[in-house]
Symmetry: C2
Subunit: 635 residues, 2 copies
């Protein structure tokens, strides 16, 4: 089912030609103005203008062409969803430029390229501008990147466009967050004080950064308990006396949230609340104020801007007094305090109840009762069990409930109207998670409800061996996940010529986004840059995917912790993991000839721990308790 985009494109081109815009090319990226991974439907501009609603893609519309740049995951979906107006640019195939390369090299020398400056980072904007200059240094008439403040898609979309969510914002009690806002502001001020020159302010634009700093949670974006907002944190000048040195902050919220009475009293006098829309004027005023400080105090003019903030934010403050850097909140937020860590443990035990209830229910339906259930119905039942748990606030992402070949589609999620029936005799892969007030869960288990083939057992065992290698790893403080640990998850798979095409693990927020930086275990640059540190959370999720047949993945959530070792080489300390996920790993899928004694001990020990933690909590579900006992039997 394609959407007709002729009318939309005609209107857009009319706007592009208007004298106040005067551009011959317009870029529609996927991002929202906060650089969010998940976006609200009002921000799905690229999907609306093109009909293609995959999670990654960039539309470039010229006066006579409409191009969609996307990657291999979405070639099929994009070509099915887009009408004849659109040309699909298959990024990654030979000869196909990226959208950035297309802008810099494939357009006429005099092209004027319009873009909404709130939807592109400062770095990307500059990169595109400067690479255009360097491509054609001799040309008088070079391409120009034109920031257009009014989003042209929004103008056409108009009344059809869903309103921006303005849901209530609620404080997260200190018994869950473990640290007051005032203490967080204080630690933030210390963290940034090592910057030279010492900054006077920090602008926050990432929604999870803001939610964490102010101990607030919302529900404006699906699965992410965040709310639309900006914030500016002010640090003291060197002249202010000590008792004035407490940092203060301004939080920009949508009106609904502001009117929610108790926020002000919770946040205290350090935090001022202003309307969401006022951020732009505020940033301009901030820039002008700092600029007016006398020249002798030039070191007091600095404003820190996170590298994921938009070009519009950087422009509003002014390029002359900003320093663009990775958000200093990212590392503070990634290292969980003891309350958050205990919350992770407790929420994962609770989550384990729902998992045991669901998997035992599913097994009974499929095997004893022979009932036909779709993947979607399975996911619904799991959500139902989770929703009965204390402190439950919602799912942390779309449940991947997949049977047989669908398990090999890494980013699969069942369509309620059209999905497969779960087959007893095929591997069932379920990747799911929940948001609780005290933590966020993300767990994958792979089950076979009949008799697995030798191949299924062998490959599932290789995945398990990779999982165990990560879980039992000990490594020097300062190690990055990419360089040193990623290959440990693959070692056993490689012995059989197997591998998987995704990272081994990602950070997880505390009752926040299920994907959280800056660290990870993988081979990508991002996972490389940030060392693993005690108190961080990371998933451990090696897999194997047999296209058209089945998928295997075993995913647990791990706390990174300091470990005692007999020696301490280089005095830097050593780190290891504590697993908090509490769901049995199916021994039926283990090829016992393949695993070592140590691996067998690990597996039995893990399932025993699950039994000890979860069985006392299943008193009201006889089926789940019996199932858990069976699945936790040592091999």
């Amino acid at each position: 089912m394609t959407v007709s985009t002729s009318e939309r494109l005609a209107q857009l081109r009319e706007l592009m030609r208007k004298p106040e815009n005067n551009v011959d090319t317009y870029v529609v990226p996927s991002e929202d103005q906060h650089g969010s991974e998940y976006i609200a439907s009002c921000d799905e501009r690229r999907a609306w203008i093109s009909g293609f609603n995959g999670s990654a893609g960039c539309a470039i519309i010229t006066l006579d062409k409409a191009l969609m740049f996307t990657d291999g995951r979405y070639f099929l979906q994009a070509s099915e969803q887009m009408d004849q107006n659109w040309e699909l640019m298959k990024q990654g195939l030979p000869g196909i430029p990226t959208w950035q390369d297309y802008l810099t090299t494939n357009l006429p020398a005099s092209a004027r390229i319009g873009i909404d400056p709130t939807l592109i980072t400062e770095k990307d904007f500059k990169l595109l501008s400067s690479s255009k200059e360097s491509e054609k240094p001799e040309a008088q008439d070079t391409n120009t990147l034109v920031p257009i403040t009014t989003n042209l898609v929004d103008v056409i979309w108009a009344s059809d466009r869903p309103p921006r969510p303005k849901n209530a914002v609620a404080p997260l009690e200190e018994k869950y967050s473990g640290e007051s806002v005032s203490s967080k502001l204080h630690r933030l001020a210390s963290a940034v004080s090592s910057n030279t020159p010492k900054p006077r302010a920090l602008v926050l634009t990432a929604l999870d950064d803001i939610a964490w700093l102010f101990n607030l949670r919302g529900s404006d974006i699906a699965y992410n308990p965040v709310f639309f907002s900006y914030a500016v944190v002010h640090f003291h000048s060197s002249e202010e006396s000590d008792n004035l040195k407490k940092p203060r902050a301004v939080l920009f919220l949508q009106r609904n949230a502001i009117e929610h009475g108790d926020l002000k009293s919770v946040l205290g006098p350090q935090i001022e609340i202003r309307p969401y829309e006022d951020i732009w004027e505020y940033l301009k005023d901030l820039g002008n104020q700092l600029r007016s400080i006398s020249a002798e105090k030039s070191q007091e003019k600095l404003v820190l801007i996170p590298d994921k903030a938009s070009f519009a934010v950087a422009q509003a403050v002014g390029e002359d007094i900003i320093n663009v850097l990775p958000s200093p909140i990212t590392v503070l937020k990634a290292i969980k305090n003891s309350t958050e860590l205990e919350g992770f443990r407790q929420s994962h035990i609770r989550d384990g109840i729902a998992l045991a209830r669901y998997f035992s229910w599913l097994e009974e339906k499929l095997t004893e009762e022979g009932i036909k259930l779709t993947e979607w119905e399975g996911a619904e039942q799991l959500e139902k069990f989770r929703s009965e748990l204390p402190l439950f606030k919602g799912l942390s992402f779309d449940t991947i409930s997949s049977t047989g070949p669908n398990g090999a589609i890494i980013h699969y999620s069942p369509d309620p109207k059209d999905c497969a029936v779960i087959e007893r005799d095929q591997i069932y892969l379920c990747d799911s998670g929940a948001q609780f007030l005290d933590g966020t869960t993300d767990v994958t288990r792979t089950w076979h409800f009949g008799t697995p083939t030798d191949e299924e057992k062998r490959t599932a065992t290789r995945v398990l061996q990779g999982h165990i290698a990560i879980d039992s790893a000990i490594f020097p403080n300062g190690t990055t996940g990419a360089l040193l640990l990623d290959s440990w998850a693959r070692k056993a798979l490689w012995k059989d010529g197997l591998d998987f095409r995704h990272g081994t693990g990602h950070g997880v927020g505390h009752y926040l986004n299920v994907h959280e930086g800056p660290h990870g275990i993988g081979t990508r640059i991002t996972a490389n840059a940030s060392p693993l540190k005690a108190g961080m959370i990371v998933t451990n999720e090696p897999g194997y995917y047999a296209d058209g047949k089945y998928g295997v993945r075993i995913e647990n959530v791990l706390i990174i912790k300091e470990v005692e070792t007999p020696w301490n080489f280089g005095d830097k300390g050593f780190l290891g993991f504590e697993c908090v996920t509490m769901c049995p790993i199916q021994t039926k899928l283990v090829d016992q000839n393949l695993i070592s004694i140590d691996e067998k001990l690990w597996l039995n020990d893990y399932n025993r721990k699950v039994w000890e933690k979860i069985s006392p909590l299943l008193k009201n579900d006889e089926r789940a308790l019996k199932w858990l006992e069976k699945e936790c039997q040592p091999i």
Copy 2:
């Protein structure tokens, strides 16, 4: 014992002031004009001018200062060897610039810096020149890097300076090299033909590149069977007819080598021999000839220059027609042919005879006879046993024969006049290797001739576990040693909080340099850039060093080979290792409680293979045979 450098420095400064030079700073690097790792004594200019003869360091002499830049390995040695004229710049300590940074930022704006253009790479020369420009873009009067063709140190050194070695150059028969020069030239031509534009010539400056390409070996530099030389390979132009398309080459050799009668007949008509000194005139003529080609054929003008070639080489040809890139010989040379691989196997079996004879001899002397032997005497005896082997041509590096605490000094080698007595009750670490006509060896073993402590056993076992992890690794084709394998060698050590501060492995030449690129197993950038490929050689040498107490290292030489796996993910194939080193690993140093069944099987299997290969060859040495039998007993 310091050398007085006052007179030398005074003379150097006089030369610097002369109008034809007119520099106020002079740089004396460690390198020779071929970028060799080991250099001849006539090229030890930095050692002669300063008195400091460590392997790494750069001297910067201004009209009133003499600075020596070196790294942590040499702080003590340099400060002991240099007189009062010299100031030691401890690179790596806070606030101490590198010699490059010193040149670009610490000298007056108008400084004129002299350097011998044959002793600095084109890239480094340009980097120093351009960074100076960008540091002070506004200054009229910037530093200038002045290439001075006459080496000023050589002028002063004059008659004292040892002559440049001009030893005989001998062909390496095809039964050892496995490939004719003509075939190598042909493959080289194919390899470079993918460059655009297609190159007309390649200049070779690395001595091992030239030795490999022309199947020649020499003895101008200790331990490296190479000879002073340059070479230019000419590729056909597109107009030449097919029967003329064979590449031809010019080899520049010192007179002695040229007069060695049979070289010309061996090399055949494709190779012209010219005097070593004529390279500069030849490169200039080559540049001028290509430049005279009409403009329409501009794509036919290209000369390839290896990135390790000197600035002088690049300048002689002319910057306008060169392309600087990693030497295309490096990868060709690194992938050994089947004759070379079989030579590696055979030479390592022979080497195993000498090792068994030496270690059994040493054990008897120390334990039964209670004789006092120095580390140097041990090394001498090992060399004597090796020198009795067929095809032996010399050692491949200075033998590390070290007892107790000396074993913890990674780059130790015993001083014949002043070294320790080998202690029966301390760990003895011996790292040694030989050059044979059919291969190069490099092997480390760690022995205890008395009763090891629990700590010694535990740490030695951790090292062994790392060694086994590498030896039994299977990994996807295309894997770089750094990213994926290096941590496997450290995993068992990390479990106990241990580690080692060197790479896990390096490439090895075939009857060539014992350190050979481009690949390796380590965390340095160089090891990162080059994937491991079937046919390459790499060492496997994890270690542990207890400062002041003992060192442990187990080093074998491995052939990288394709392996069969049940699956073949991504159709890229999988690689593994074949170990060629044949010397038992001491089981006395193994803590059996620490190792897995698989590791025990590996160890017993390895020692059994050694017994099978070496025992039939020890008929004339009863002691060695008995020792080998004892050491190869399964545990």
